[in-house]
Subunit: 273 residues, 2 copies
DNA sequence: AAGAGTTCTGAATCGCTGT
DNA sequence: GACAGCGATTCAGAACTCT
């Protein structure tokens, strides 16, 4: 399975043909690779960018167990300013839009740290927001000091390429099934990714990726807004949940990821089946 | 009660003293009136702006014909209308911030149509977002065409004046009580405003205000983020839910509203007790 | 093997004082 | 300003330990 699963990007490769990248993860910079993908070729984009959490540099020590909270301290979430973050997001959105078929739609996920910036930029770029969808976590990290509400949600924006987009895919029966009562509500409730689903690093002690998305999230996205055989692009694939779930639901996929550690984890995950 | 409840704003009034406006609604333009209120005088602001739900069809036609006549790009017109909305919101936010005490906080409510724009502008202006809070409507409008998820949420942003703000009010016991399980979650679930609570217009047939906020929403805002005796400003008061609930919870208030029809409804509501 | 009790952790813009 | 050090106090769910 993992034979030829990874494509090494390089400057020598000027363009990617669709056949070459389907069902693969391209190891390379998201922006560089997207420039080489064929225009108007994918049906759905799932964008899981850095959230720009702006966490303080000090550790968060637990009071009762002497352990430390492994927060997000990854290189990929470091930006110098809102400006730098904004231009990175804008470029990503523009490149993604080029690759989308006319009726394709795009999902973005983030928290209040950056979702508002992303949403406004999408509107300003001409994307047409179809919904905001709220993922309510049943097991969020509590707010110890009690100085804020416990942040127990993440926000998804689902958007079409522009206002005139029609005939995009929306499977209302699935939306109703996953919503609240009989309503296809823009609210989803399920736990964060833990337990066996959570990929561990080599010594099996620590989480491989600080923000692995649960399969349940991608399952809902894919079932409600794509059809069998559709092509799903995940330009910042991380541990590859989107491709993994896409495969299990008979969708095709293209993933891009720059970190070899995550690609290793992805490979093992795909091999396990 | 309604004796002296309404203050008529006019150009002859250069400034408002706090004593004069406490427990009153000022009939006038929100921006003009805010400029005359004393600086650093209120503890909490509740901002319920127009949501900018859609580009009106009339205007669209006008813009389209303009496009044909003047050869103006569609995108430009669209951007311009967003710009108008944005500058209105920005001016409102800046004026509100002047009126806020150093430890005061501000709430804004909207839907995906404009909440992303508002949130990004707040960050760019230096407001420090403390939480996004999601109101999940247990009885959303069934505007179900089967082409989108049913929009059954509204988003609130709770923010301090800037990053260094400390000692703002957060009553965690109330937050826990109103949250999910034992968690003071940033998710609130209750129905939209209907039945007896919903104000009707004079012939008692039609709702007075298209987006009257339920008392439950203001109750939660006020209980979690203000103390008894605090001063609450509602610059776009509509039917006056904020002031009405503030009074019942022993908070003081200042309201501003431009539409005399709403002020009439407000008066009756306050007189009823 | 099964059950009971304990430990650990999760996209976190979390407190304060003193140097 | 930054940074180090101290200290007060969250919950759901899975993993782990012990009987």
């Amino acid at each position: 399975m993992s034979n030829g699963f990874v494509i090494e990007d390089s400057e020598d490769i000027p363009k990617y043909s669709l056949e070459k990248v389907l069902g693969k993860v391209i190891h390379g910079n998201s922006l560089s690779v997207m420039k080489k993908l064929p225009k108007e070729s994918v049906d759905l984009v799932f964008l899981d960018p850095p959230y720009f959490l702006q966490l303080p540099k000090k550790d968060l020590r637990r009071w009762n167990s002497k352990t430390i909270v492994n927060g997000v301290d990854d290189e990929w979430d470091k930006f110098k300013s809102f400006e730098e973050y904004d231009s990175f997001i804008k470029e990503t959105l523009l490149l993604a839009r080029d690759i989308m078929k006319p009726a394709a739609t795009l999902w973005v996920i983030s928290t209040y740290h950056s979702i508002f910036r992303i949403g406004k930029m999408m509107q300003d770029l001409g994307f047409w927001i179809l919904n905001d969808v709220h993922w309510i976590k049943t097991n969020p990290m509590p707010n110890w000091l009690g100085v804020r509400f416990t942040n127990s949600t993440e926000t998804l924006i689902w958007a079409a390429k522009d206002k005139s987009s029609r005939k995009y895919t929306f499977n209302k029966e699935w939306a109703k099934k996953l919503g609240i009562g009989k309503v296809a509500a823009n609210v989803w409730e399920f736990p964060i990714c833990t337990g066996k689903e959570r990929l561990k690093d080599d010594d099996r002690r620590c989480k491989l990726h600080s923000t692995q998305k649960p399969a349940e999230l991608l399952k809902r996205i894919i079932l409600t807004t794509s059809n069998e055989g559709d092509i799903i692009l995940d330009p910042m694939a991380g541990t590859g949940t989107a491709g993994y779930v896409a495969r299990s639901l008979n969708r095709r996929f293209i993933m891009i990821e720059i970190n070899p550690k995550y690609i290793d984890g992805m490979k093992k995950r795909f091999d396990r089946g």
